[in-house]
C-alpha cells in the first residue's frame, strides 16, 4: 500500500489526542536525531491502566500519524499489554511496510510510551 494513504494523511492533518495534559503522571520527551523531530507524551495512569494520553510537538506525517493512531490504541490498555507491543504492531496500525529510516519516525511514539511506563512511579 502507498506510504501516504488516506488514513495516514487524515491522522497527520487532524491528529487525535494532540495537546497536553496538565495533570499527567509522566511527561516523556522523545527526539529523533535523524530528522530533528521532537514529540512529548503526557500520560495519565489509573492504577495499572493508561487512562489518558496526549502528545505535542512537530514531526513528519509518519511520526505524527503514528502518535495519533497509537494514542487511540493504548487508552484503556494495561502496562503489561503495552510492554508486549512490537514493531510489527506499529506497522500493522499504519498499514504499510516502512524502510529502516522511516521506521525510526514511526517507532518514536512506541519508544515514548514504553519509556513513560518505565518512568511511572
Amino acid at each position: 500500500m502507498n506510504l501516504y494513504h488516506e488514513e495516514i494523511l487524515e491522522h497527520y492533518r487532524h491528529p487525535h489526542h494532540a495537546g497536553t495534559l496538565p495533570d499527567a503522571d509522566v511527561i516523556q520527551e522523545e527526539h529523533n536525531p535523524l530528522c530533528g523531530d521532537k514529540l512529548t507524551f503526557y500520560v495519565k495512569f489509573s492504577h495499572n491502566i493508561i487512562s489518558d494520553v496526549k502528545f505535542s510537538g512537530e514531526g513528519c506525517a509518519i511520526s505524527q500519524a503514528t502518535a495519533s493512531m497509537l494514542t487511540d490504541e493504548i487508552i484503556g490498555m494495561s502496562i503489561e499489554e503495552i510492554k508486549k507491543l512490537t514493531t510489527k504492531d506499529i506497522t500493522n496500525l499504519l498499514g504499510v511496510e516502512l524502510g529502516p529510516t522511516r521506521l525510526k519516525c514511526a517507532l518514536l511514539s512506541l519508544q515514548g510510551i514504553t519509556r513513560a511506563i518505565h518512568h511511572k512511579k
Binding site: L3, G36, A61
Partner: protein, 403 residues
C-alpha cells in the same frame, strides 16, 4: 570550455541510465566506469601491498599509489607530495588535523570555528577542548546569513591559536569569504584548517595560494571511491608534529620502548592504506580534469542559480541560506510550507528523485535557521536543468498530497 553531452555522460556513468534524478551529490557523487575499471585492474592484475614487497607486483602497486599522490599534489597546487596525507575521508582528515594541532595547544587557549560547520569540523574540536582544556569560540551568522571576517578581530585574544572553518557550507552551499578569513587569521599567527569537502569537487583550488595550514576533502564527492580522503598539510608544520596514530609503515627504527619515525607523508599514514580506493581516486581526478574544473564550476553554478531562481518564484517554498544567492555553490536548502522535509523526500523518492532531508550534520546551522530540518538538493556536472524541473514538479505533487 567544454560542453557536456548527457548521452556521452550516460555512457561513462551507467548510473545515469537507471531513471533516477540524483540530487544528493553533496553526500556522494556517482562514479564513472573508468574509476571502477582502475580498481578492478588493481585487484585483478597487480594486487599487492604497497611500500612492502620487493617483488615487481608490489613495486607496481606502490608506483600507481604514489602516482596518485603526485596527481593530488598537482590538482590542488601543493608544493610537495609529502604534504598530501591519504585518509579514509574528510572526517578522518579533520580529526587528524585537530589531533596534530592539539599538540601545539595549552590549557586556556582558544579555537575559533563558525556556526556554519558540518559536525565533522565541530565534534573533533569539542573532543580536543574537553581533553586539553581549551575553549571553543564561534563566528556567528549575521542577518544577511553570512559569516563576516571582521568578527575575527573581536574574538581574537593572545590565547587564540586556531581558526578551523568550512569553505562551502554543506547545508546551504554558502561559500564563506575564505581567503579573507585565512589572511586575517594568518596575520594574527593562528593555525588555519579548512574543511573543503564541498569546494574541492566544485571549484579549482590552489592550496598554496589559499595559504591555509591544513585542508581536508574526500574522494567520493569527486567521482572517486568511498573510503579515501586527503589531508593537505603545510610541510613546515607537518614536520614539527608527532604522529597521532602508530603502526606499520610509519617508522624508521623500532625498539621495545621507543621508536623513530620515517619521513613525511608516510609518518602520518600507518597501516595498509585503501590502495584500490586511492588508485580509483587517481582515475577520478584524471576524469574530472579531462572535463575540466572550469567547466565543472561553470555547469554547477548555472544549475544552482537556475534552481534558486525557479524555487524562489514559489510562495510556499522558503529558501534557506545567505540572502545573496550568488554566494551559493552547488547546494540549496529549503522548506515547504505545511510539509515536513522527510515527507517531501519520501514522496520525491516515489518519483525516483533523490534529495536529502534532515539536519545535514549541521545542527548549529539548523538552529540559526530556526528549523529542525530542511530539504537539500545538491548538484554535480552531470545534472541538467530538466532534473531541477522534475524536482519542482514532484514537490508540487507532494504538496498537493500533504497539505
Amino acid at each position: 570550455m567544454n560542453t557536456l553531452s548527457f548521452s556521452q555522460l550516460q555512457q561513462e556513468f551507467p548510473f545515469l541510465k537507471n531513471g533516477w534524478t540524483y540530487l544528493d551529490n553533496a553526500a556522494t557523487t556517482q562514479k564513472p566506469l573508468c574509476v571502477l575499471d582502475a580498481e578492478r585492474e588493481y585487484y585483478t592484475t597487480y594486487c599487492a601491498n604497497v611500500h612492502r614487497g620487493i617483488y615487481t607486483l608490489s613495486e607496481q602497486a606502490t608506483e600507481h599509489f604514489e602516482q596518485v599522490r603526485e596527481q593530488v599534489r598537482k590538482f590542488i597546487g601543493a608544493r610537495s607530495s609529502s604534504e598530501i596525507i591519504f585518509t579514509s575521508g574528510t572526517t578522518q582528515s579533520l580529526n587528524l588535523a585537530a589531533r596534530l594541532i592539539a599538540q601545539r595547544l595549552n590549557v586556556g587557549d582558544k579555537i575559533i570555528l563558525t556556526e556554519a560547520e558540518h559536525h565533522a569540523n565541530l565534534i573533533p574540536w569539542q573532543l580536543i577542548a574537553k581533553e586539553r582544556g581549551v575553549q571553543l569560540q564561534f563566528l556567528q551568522f549575521h542577518e544577511d546569513g553570512q559569516i563576516h571576517p571582521e568578527d575575527l578581530s573581536t574574538l581574537m585574544t593572545k590565547k587564540t591559536k586556531v581558526l578551523a572553518c568550512t569553505h562551502i557550507s554543506n547545508a546551504s552551499g554558502y561559500m564563506l569569504p575564505i581567503q579573507k578569513l585565512i589572511d586575517s587569521a594568518r596575520e594574527c599567527g593562528l593555525f588555519t584548517i579548512i574543511d573543503a569537502a564541498q569546494s574541492v569537487p566544485h571549484i579549482p583550488i590552489d592550496v598554496t595560494k589559499l595559504g591555509a595550514d591544513m585542508i581536508a576533502f574526500s574522494a567520493h564527492k569527486l567521482c572517486g571511491p568511498t573510503g579515501v580522503g586527503v589531508l593537505y598539510g603545510r610541510k613546515e608544520l607537518l614536520e614539527q608534529v608527532e604522529p597521532v596514530c602508530g603502526g606499520g609503515g610509519m617508522i624508521s627504527e623500532v625498539q621495545l620502548t621507543s621508536s623513530t619515525w620515517t619521513d613525511l607523508p608516510h609518518r602520518l599514514e600507518p597501516g595498509t592504506p585503501n590502495i584500490a580506493g586511492v588508485i580509483g581516486f587517481g582515475m577520478a581526478l584524471q576524469y574530472v580534469q579531462t572535463i575540466g574544473m572550469n567547466t565543472i564550476q561553470h555547469t554547477i553554478e548555472k544549475l544552482t542559480q537556475y534552481a534558486l531562481k525557479q524555487l524562489s518564484s514559489h510562495p510556499t517554498i522558503k529558501l534557506l541560506g545567505p540572502k545573496n544567492h550568488s554566494l551559493q555553490h552547488g547546494i540549496i536548502s529549503f522548506t515547504v510550507n505545511g510539509a515536513h522535509p522527510h515527507d517531501i523526500a519520501s514522496l520525491l523518492s516515489e518519483d525516483h528523485i533523490a534529495v536529502r532531508a534532515g539536519h545535514h550534520c549541521a545542527q548549529p546551522t539548523m538552529k540559526y535557521w530556526g528549523v529542525p530540518a530542511t530539504v537539500r538538493a545538491s548538484f554535480s556536472f552531470y545534472n541538467t536543468t530538466k532534473d531541477i524541473d522534475r524536482m519542482i514538479e514532484s514537490i508540487q505533487k507532494a504538496q498537493n498530497i500533504l497539505v
